[in-house]
């Protein structure tokens, strides 16, 4: 019950393990097949003019665009601009959100005062603030990062503050019977108990930061993937648009995978 101690594995169990493995392989193969078929059909349909490659682009042309952009050295620069903006916006949103959520947990008075403001700020579409940020901060990276921050901050505060309050009262009582201070209750119980909540907030934040950065780049930018998408759209170069979207989806997927890896490292006790 406590340990899989025996090295002996029965035939039945071997069969079971094999069937699980087989199923996992099938899932992977199918996933890969869908990707290959999708791009294959796209390529073929465009090549035989079933669809208009001028409007929907085509994988081979996307590859060519990627190579040309790479040759003149701008591709990596655009990726770097968007990626750095996202990482900075995401980090700021998560850290500031966590800090404010801790303050709200600490002081019930503050929490009650802040509630209506959080509700209003949460339902406000943050994109509406874009022009204001641009007027205040100019057309550099600052308004874009602020956009990413604005979109992720309030959600982080609300989900973390709720998570902190849901920590088992009895666990806190246990610490109180040991004579724990409020700081000890926070660091020994509330924060570690909230690691799953924090991780899920982080996952949501990643997505929201991408949204914030790309919309920010739509509104004002001289570089970045969002800039490439808007620019490509304006000059009707759908190859450029599609290529940027593809790169964007790969980047966000990689970032998500990284967070999941981090989560596994952090929550070993599950």
């Amino acid at each position: 019950m406590y340990e899989v101690a025996s090295t002996y594995v029965s035939k039945e169990h071997q069969e079971f393990l094999k069937s699980v493995k087989r199923k996992n392989i099938m899932v992977r193969v199918t996933q890969l097949a869908i990707l290959v078929i999708f791009f294959g059909l796209w390529e073929i349909a465009a090549r035989y003019k079933i669809i208009d490659p001028f409007l929907v682009s085509q994988p081979s042309r996307m590859l060519k665009t990627m190579l040309t952009l790479n040759q003149n050295g701008t591709l990596l620069m655009h990726i770097w601009v968007t990626l750095s903006e996202t990482v900075v916006g995401f980090t700021l949103g998560t850290v500031a959100g966590m800090f404010i959520a801790i303050l709200l947990w600490w002081s019930d008075f503050l929490s009650q005062v802040a509630e209506p403001y959080l509700v209003v700020l949460n339902s406000l579409p943050k994109i509406a603030l874009g022009p204001i940020f641009i007027v205040w901060m100019g057309n550099g990276e600052a308004p874009i990062i602020t956009m990413a921050l604005a979109i992720s901050l309030i959600v982080t505060i609300i989900s973390l503050a709720t998570g902190f309050k849901e920590v088992d009262e009895e666990k806190i009582k246990l610490l109180k019977t040991f004579g724990a201070t409020k700081m000890q209750i926070l660091t020994k119980c509330v924060l570690p108990a909230s690691v799953p909540t924090i991780m899920s907030a982080i996952k949501i934040n990643i997505g929201l930061s991408w949204v914030g950065v790309i919309t920010g780049e739509f509104l004002v930018s001289k570089a970045g993937l969002g800039y490439l998408i808007v620019y490509g759209g304006q000059i009707f170069k759908l190859d450029m648009v599609m290529t940027s979207v593809l790169i964007l989806s790969i980047l966000s997927a990689l970032m998500y995978v990284f967070i999941v890896y981090l989560e596994k490292k952090l929550i070993r006790w599950r």
């Binding site: 009582k173 610490l175 019977t177 690691v195």
Partner: protein, 248 residues
């Protein structure tokens, strides 16, 4: 045996909520002597847990006085082991909070874990252990602070019947072995008779002391399971049952 460890004198307690005030305890007085196991029993919601919170100092009585001679350890209804900490880290939690983690206290916890069969499991996480082992780990976490008096707040009520019998037996032996005094709050009449020297029966809310029973059982076996076989057990049970006066 005559040292008074806990002395309650005319303790009353009121809860204040927006809906009004609720009188939970009304003029409660009794003493607990060294080495004694005192049971507190009463209908559900009568304020038994409040009484423990007052003894432990988590709540201040509205009136009356509480005198405690010795350190207090508290056992809650469930084990409340922190699932992100290993058994070892859980066992030293109280020491960590009170900043008493020394070479000496560590080796004391180590001895306790060894003595009660958890040393090999020190690096396991709570959800890898059985209910009984978890309960033992929780007890060691409390004992690590070397309390003189243990307060058990329905400590076994979350367990199924068989486990409960086995664990209360085990905890009883450990506490007797470590020569502790205990105040045991429960709603289980047989558990109280099996474990306690005296039983304080409380009334419905606002609770007052209805009667205090001296439990004297003629049994050769002093474990709670053995005590359940004593001929007087049934008489006590019936008498306390009547005293509790439960109508559904």
């Amino acid at each position: 045996m005559d040292n008074v460890m806990v002395s309650l004198k005319n303790v009353s307690f009121k809860y204040h909520t927006l809906e009004g005030e609720t009188e939970a305890l009304n003029d409660i007085s009794f003493d607990v002597y060294e080495g004694e196991f005192v049971g507190v029993i009463g209908p559900s919601g009568c304020g038994k847990s409040t009484l423990l919170s007052i003894i432990s100092g988590l709540l201040k009585p509205s009136r009356g006085s509480v005198e405690v001679n010795g350190k207090i350890g508290y056992m809650l209804q469930r084990d409340h082991l922190f699932e992100w900490r290993t058994i070892w880290q859980n066992a030293i939690l109280g020491l960590e909070i009170q900043k008493k983690l020394t070479e000496e206290s560590r080796s004391y916890v180590k001895d306790l874990l060894k003595k009660y069969g958890l040393w090999e499991f020190r690096n396991y996480y709570p959800n890898q252990l059985s209910g009984g082992m978890r309960q033992r780990a929780a007890l060691i976490r409390t004992l690590a602070l070397k309390p003189d008096i243990l307060l058990l707040d329905e400590a076994f009520s979350a367990l199924d019947y068989q486990t409960k019998l086995a664990i209360s037996d085990e905890v009883y032996k450990i506490l007797k072995n470590e020569q502790k005094t205990a105040v045991i709050v429960t709603h289980d009449i047989s558990e109280a008779i099996a474990m306690c020297n005296r039983i304080v029966v409380l009334s419905k809310r606002p609770a007052y002391v209805k009667r205090i029973y001296e439990i004297i059982l003629t049994s050769d076996d002093y474990s709670p399971i053995g005590r359940r076989k004593a001929p007087e057990f049934r008489e006590y049970f019936n008498s306390i049952w009547k005293e509790l006066d439960i109508h559904v």
